[in-house]
């Protein structure tokens, strides 16, 4: 879907990193290497996010989820591909379109869904909601509702890792909308200056709420946005989970190698509106339908599995069934979990010293 990108693409770019950063997957062959086993797992993770989000959308429609609810449908390959290249010690932070990231970080779908319904069993005891969930245990640092705020915060997480002398890095996900916030460039500058171990993943789904990249960005190739700080950027087909993973592996090697930050621009697409109450009139139905029909990240993997990798329909059906049951369990849990006790109103304002 990248319209003849001017920036380097994962497949053809010269590796910006030391030799160790070179990935056989992206540099050498046209199609990153994979196995049936790996692809089945990626398929499962992407499908879980999609089914979860569909269920969340349905529950929103039933009035069980309130306020804002931003769905990740269409963008699943981005977070699943990136997370596949990370270790469990790496830190992750993102914006308010965060349900997929939480699931990809290994957070329980029950706890995520129960937070969406504002129940005591939610990750934030019902006090955060869709946009504000965290799991220190899974190294997921939110869930941030202020556009762009997660970029300095994620850079600070990287600062902490470097300060402590650990090998972990930080991944700050943000959208094409955030990419125009001033604080993003303040963070870029310091991350490059101090060579902080942070990967900036720009999820370019092409619309910042209702404003397209073309209407909002003087430099629409967002991978280039780090150039004046010397931060290498790569544009990646964010609808291709293997391309995402290959690019992430290179970025991880570069960043872990102490070379400072790197930008990955993921060209992706959200099928649904910006939030549940967005009718998405700023783009044509044809555009959305074409993307869904021709570029769907899950269907792409499904076809690969059924084709060259010779997976059977039954194998995929078993995954579908498994995912469906996880999601309906989560929906069940999220409806049965009690509302937080009234006494919770006053807790967690301050840490008692």
């Amino acid at each position: 879907m990248a319209r003849t990108p001017q920036t380097r693409t994962t497949r053809s770019r010269k590796t910006p990193a030391k030799p160790a950063a070179k990935s056989t997957a992206s540099a050498a062959s046209k199609q990153p290497e994979t196995s049936k086993e790996e692809l089945l797992e990626l398929y499962r993770e992407m499908l879980l996010i999609r089914r979860f989000e569909e269920k969340a959308g349905q529950m929103y429609g039933m009035g069980l989820i309130g306020g804002f609810c931003h769905l990740y449908i269409g963008q699943e390959a981005v977070v699943v591909g990136i997370q596949a290249a990370l270790t469990s010690n790496d830190k992750v932070i993102t914006s308010y379109r965060d349900h997929g990231h939480m699931l990809a970080c290994g957070m329980e779908s029950n706890g995520v869904m129960a937070e969406l319904t504002g129940r005591a069993g939610g990750y934030s005891k019902g006090k955060g909601g869709s946009m504000h969930m965290f799991s220190r245990q899974k190294n997921f640092y939110g869930g941030h509702g202020i556009v762009g705020a997660q970029v300095p915060l994620g850079t600070g997480l990287a600062f902490a890792e470097k300060y402590k002398g650990s090998d972990a890095l930080s991944v700050a996900y943000f959208g094409d909308g955030s990419a125009n916030q001033g604080q993003v460039y303040e963070a870029f500058n310091m991350a490059a200056l101090w060579k902080l171990p942070v990967i900036y993943v720009i999820e370019n789904n092409q619309y910042a709420m209702g404003t397209s990249v073309a209407r909002s960005s003087a430099q629409p190739e967002l991978a280039k946005r780090g150039e004046s700080f010397g931060i290498p950027g790569v544009q990646v087909d964010g609808m291709d989970v293997l391309a995402v993973k290959a690019a992430a592996e290179e970025a991880v090697a570069y960043v872990r190698g102490g070379k400072g930050p790197m930008i990955l621009e993921m060209k992706t697409y959200r099928y649904r509106g910006h939030s549940m109450s967005d009718p998405a009139k700023y783009r044509s139905k044809e555009e959305v339908n074409k993307m869904r029909a021709e570029r769907d990240p899950i269907e792409r993997v499904r076809q690969m599995l059924l084709g060259k990798l010779e997976a059977s329909e039954d194998e995929l059906k078993a995954i579908d069934k498994d995912v469906k049951s996880i999601v309906s369990d989560a929906a069940e849990f999220a409806q049965n979990s009690p509302e937080p006790d009234a006494s919770e109103l006053y807790t967690d304002v301050l840490v008692e010293a």
Binding site: R50, R51, E54, K55, G57, Q58, Y60, G61, M62, G63, L64, G66, K91, G122, S124, K125, G126, K127, G128, H132, M133, F134, S135, R136, Y141, G142, H144, I146, A149, P152, L153, G154, T155, G156, L157, A158, F159, A160, K164, G182, Q183, E186, A187, N189, M190, L193, G273, S277, D278, P279, R292, Q335, A342, Y346, T347, D348, V349, L350, V351, A353
Partner: protein, 470 residues
């Protein structure tokens, strides 16, 4: 079992809508993501997608139907292997999941009304004040040194950095320049550039990095060259640092200190002369400290650095060069949230913080000459605010004057007045009087600047007024 498809709510306030168009008909096979119909509200038209796989059994609501209630069944989906016969006797209405929270509740409840009345005692239940009479202070005979406020602040940071490896200092000019106001003098030499970090001029960015580092397990001290510049960073201070613990259900604490000079300096004009105490003191999730003397400044900065919460530490540039006797014991720490009676008296209570404590003490001397015995309270902390100490004093003096450099509207004096009214109304012999900065941006001209700031004569006049003297 056939599955009813319900009329969805497209927004939290939607109660009903128009089923504008069906995109499927009975017998159509659908899967997750397939568009079923279009729904119109007064705001928008939206597509409704299928969530489950199956075959459309029947359409219950006709195309064009208006006023279809949210959660009413609009169609029935047949699951794998079912045919139309499954519809016989099937009551779509009964099968509809009954949401726990009534949709109308969601739409109409305002946050204040929504929650069960959980005893309206927000302030009382929070650890705002401590009723203990003991005033925290230096024990008798403790060793002291006569040093400047600037040195006291530096010593506090130095001792805490020695004590805890994850404490570090970042800000503009804090390292090689030794601090724009020389507060961090010598720290770079002692701790090196890993822990004493010069930042670019980028308040929003480095405040965010500081908060992220605190989430990541460090204890940053973020210096703002002045708090005027922290307005660029206030989103991270409030939205990221103060609120995250609550939003995370207690998982994500943010142990960070934001410090620097606050309030009017001298002749620097409106953009560099403002007291932010009322701004930060209004935010739950923050602690706010504004000390006057070097002894409490050192002990409170150490407390702030050790505190697991975000602390706003407001200093005063005019006081940096003044000297006081300061505890040398590195374990002498004062509790945040406790005020101190710095001059006992019986006729009127003067309450100030930061530089206005000095002005109140001056005023007390003048009042003494006129036979009025003023008690002076140094708030030290603005949040939590030590109501107990103030109420105790007012119960004794029955009169109170508040003093602050900030603007009068929604200021600390306004808050103190309200609390005294609520908690000590019956002890008051006169309405509380506020002395504050005047309600204008700070002027540059020397004479006007003086007029804009509270002076001891204003305090004297206010004290006499509440004492009905003259």
């Amino acid at each position: 079992m056939p599955v009813p498809i319900l009329m969805p709510a497209l927004s939290p306030t939607m109660e009903e809508g128009t089923l504008a168009k069906w995109m499927v008909k009975p017998g159509d096979k659908v899967g997750p993501g397939d568009v079923l119909c279009e729904i119109e509200t007064d705001k928008a038209t939206m597509e409704v997608e299928a969530v489950d796989e199956g075959t459309i059994g029947k359409l219950i609501v006709d195309e064009g139907a208006e006023g279809v209630k949210v959660n009413a069944p609009i169609a029935v989906l047949l699951e794998d292997g079912e045919d139309e016969s499954a519809l016989d006797g099937f009551d779509a209405g009964a099968g509809g999941p009954a949401p726990k929270a009534d949709a109308e509740d969601v739409a109409d409840a305002t946050p204040a009304e929504e929650k069960p009345k959980a005893a309206p005692k927000a302030r009382d239940s929070a650890p705002e004040s401590d009723d203990s009479d003991a005033e925290p202070d230096l024990p008798d005979g403790a060793e002291t040194a006569n040093i400047t406020l600037r040195e006291a602040l530096r010593d506090a940071m130095m001792e805490e950095m020695e004590r805890d490896e994850v404490v570090f200092l970042m800000g503009e000019e804090v390292a090689e320049y030794q601090g724009a106001y020389k507060v961090s003098q010598g720290l770079l030499e002692k701790f090196g550039p890993r822990r004493v970090i010069d930042t670019p001029i980028t308040e929003h960015g480095f405040a965010g990095i500081g908060v992220g580092a605190a989430f990541g397990g460090l204890k940053p001290i973020v210096e703002f060259m002045t708090f005027n510049f922290a307005m660029q960073a206030i989103d991270h201070i409030i939205n990221s640092a103060a609120k995250t613990l609550y939003m995370s259900g207690g998982q994500m604490g943010c142990p960070i200190v934001f410090r620097g000079p606050n309030g009017a300096a001298a002749r620097v004009g409106a953009q560099h002369s403002q007291d932010y105490a009322p701004w930060y003191a209004s935010v739950p999730g923050l602690k706010v400290v504004a000390p006057y003397d070097a002894l409490s400044a050192k002990a409170l900065l150490k407390a702030a650095i050790r505190d697991p919460n975000p602390v706003i530490f407001l200093e005063n540039e005019v006081l940096y060069g003044r000297t006081w006797d300061v505890a040398t014991d590195p374990e002498f720490v004062l509790p945040i949230g406790k005020a101190k009676v710095v001059r006992p008296g019986s006729d009127v209570t003067l309450v100030g913080y930061s530089i206005t404590v000095g002005k109140a003490l001056e005023a007390a001397e003048k009042l003494a000459e006129e036979g009025i015995d003023a008690e002076v309270i140094d708030l030290r902390s603005i949040r939590p605010l030590d109501s107990a100490t103030i109420v105790r004093s007012v119960q004794k003096t029955n009169r109170c004057v508040t003093i602050e450099e900030s603007w009068p509207t929604c200021g600390i004096g306004a808050e103190l007045s309200a609390r005294i009214m609520e908690e000590a109304f019956d002890w008051l012999d006169a309405p509380v009087k506020r002395v504050s900065g005047v309600d204008v941006p700070m002027p540059y001209a020397a004479n006007l600047e003086k007029l804009a700031l509270p002076q001891s004569e204003h305090i004297v006049a206010a004290a006499k007024a509440v004492c009905y003297s003259e």
